[in-house]
Symmetry: C2
Subunit: 212 residues, 2 copies
DNA sequence: TATCGATAGTTAGAAGCTATAACCGCCCCA
DNA sequence: TGGGGCGGTTATAGCTTCTAACTATCGATA
């Protein structure tokens, strides 16, 4: 769906090139990983030479920053879509996994080793907390068991925003995150490859552990 | 402790330089991450110029490979040390965390986003399965609960080697790994930074979940 | 002990990257 | 129908990995 705002031709062209650059960037990331992303190579692929891309992105970091924001946006959308129809915490977990398997490098761009000098801009942190919000509302609808940590979280729950959410749900959302990420990231980084069992089964088992 | 084998002076010197190079490499990794590791910079720090290091490491990748192997070795040793005195699965988990906090980049070098073209040599996979073995023996000593996955793992347990280990222990060791990595890697990559609770508390809660 | 070969280190240079600077020409808007 | 801004170009600096060719020195062996 194109943006409804009718833009000046210069602006339209500019935006088109930017998305084309990002398309090539994703392509490159999917094959060789984020560290191998090269503005030069992208320019060559687009039939223009080197420094031309600096008209569109001030630096390689700026491009990566936008790619990260887009990845976050994509994940948030996928999760919203799931939350809207079922809202089940288990469905969300499997949604995260299918989203991650769709393009492992995209997942790792967000949740893998951080880029050395990179600091998340407010837009991505906003999307991140948006995702957290979705998790929290789903977590309130699932059964929870009390834990020692509840006392601690009761005093450190500013990040959750909404005061209506029970403390046990905060814990549930947090463990959702760590367990989903734990099983999925090990699968995506290939650390489960040596063993011949199905990573999906292990993931499913973790999801079950979340639902009790 | 120095190696007991008395080596030829040439060989001794060679080994000394190699370890000195690695020391600088670790220093550099700890500050700027693995992707910023530069042979050139290391050479300059050591007072010699550029290509001299290629006498000691055929390529940047070879150096990184050895660093990874050393990191694995270090983690394995730390875990062995713990297993020898208590053997408790919880103690092992907290051991992994303190090892990771000691040098986050070292942990991420192993368990973070993999280097694009990197394939683990047999030595590191050997250490990896050595660690797994330690986990498995510790897992047999902790209470386990049956799960659907047990049927699957019963038919895919070649990686565990030892046939004496109960299937539920395999599952326990696996979930140990995914949960410990999940909570710890999110902490180390800074994804828990926005919230003001203590990551150690969350980690401890996950460890408790492992012990039941 | 004297010699000779292996080895450590050097500089030069190719190919690649990010990024800046200076310049040209076209497009679009007034 | 101008004219300013913008896209694209080449040149260049400075960084990287890594190869090639050369020198000097160290050490094992005759």
């Amino acid at each position: 769906m194109p943006k409804p705002t009718p833009q000046a031709p210069r602006e339209r062209y500019r935006e088109q090139i930017r998305t084309e650059v990002k398309a090539h960037a994703w392509n490159q990331i999917a094959t060789a990983g984020a560290s191998a992303l090269s503005l030069n190579a992208i320019a060559k692929q687009m039939g223009m030479s080197g420094p031309a891309l600096y008209r569109y992105y001030a630096s390689r970091d700026e491009l990566i920053t936008e790619l990260i924001a887009d990845a976050y946006r994509s994940l948030a959308n996928a999760l919203h879509h799931i939350a809207d129809k079922k809202g089940d915490l288990a469905a969300l977990a499997h949604g995260v996994r299918t989203w991650g398997l769709e393009d492992p490098h995209r997942y790792l761009l967000i949740y893998g080793t951080p880029i050395p000098g990179y600091h998340a801009p407010p837009t991505t942190t906003a999307i991140s907390s948006e995702i957290m919000k979705t998790l929290l509302t789903a977590a309130t609808a699932t059964p929870t068991t009390p834990d020692e940590i509840d006392a601690h979280l009761a005093h450190h729950r500013a990040w959750a925003g909404d005061d209506q959410i029970p403390t046990t749900a905060l814990h549930k959302a947090l463990t959702f995150w760590t367990r989903v990420h734990g099983a999925l990231s090990l699968e995506l980084t290939g650390h489960l490859d040596g063993m011949d069992f199905d990573p999906g089964e292990l993931f499913a088992a973790e999801v079950r552990s979340l639902m009790s």
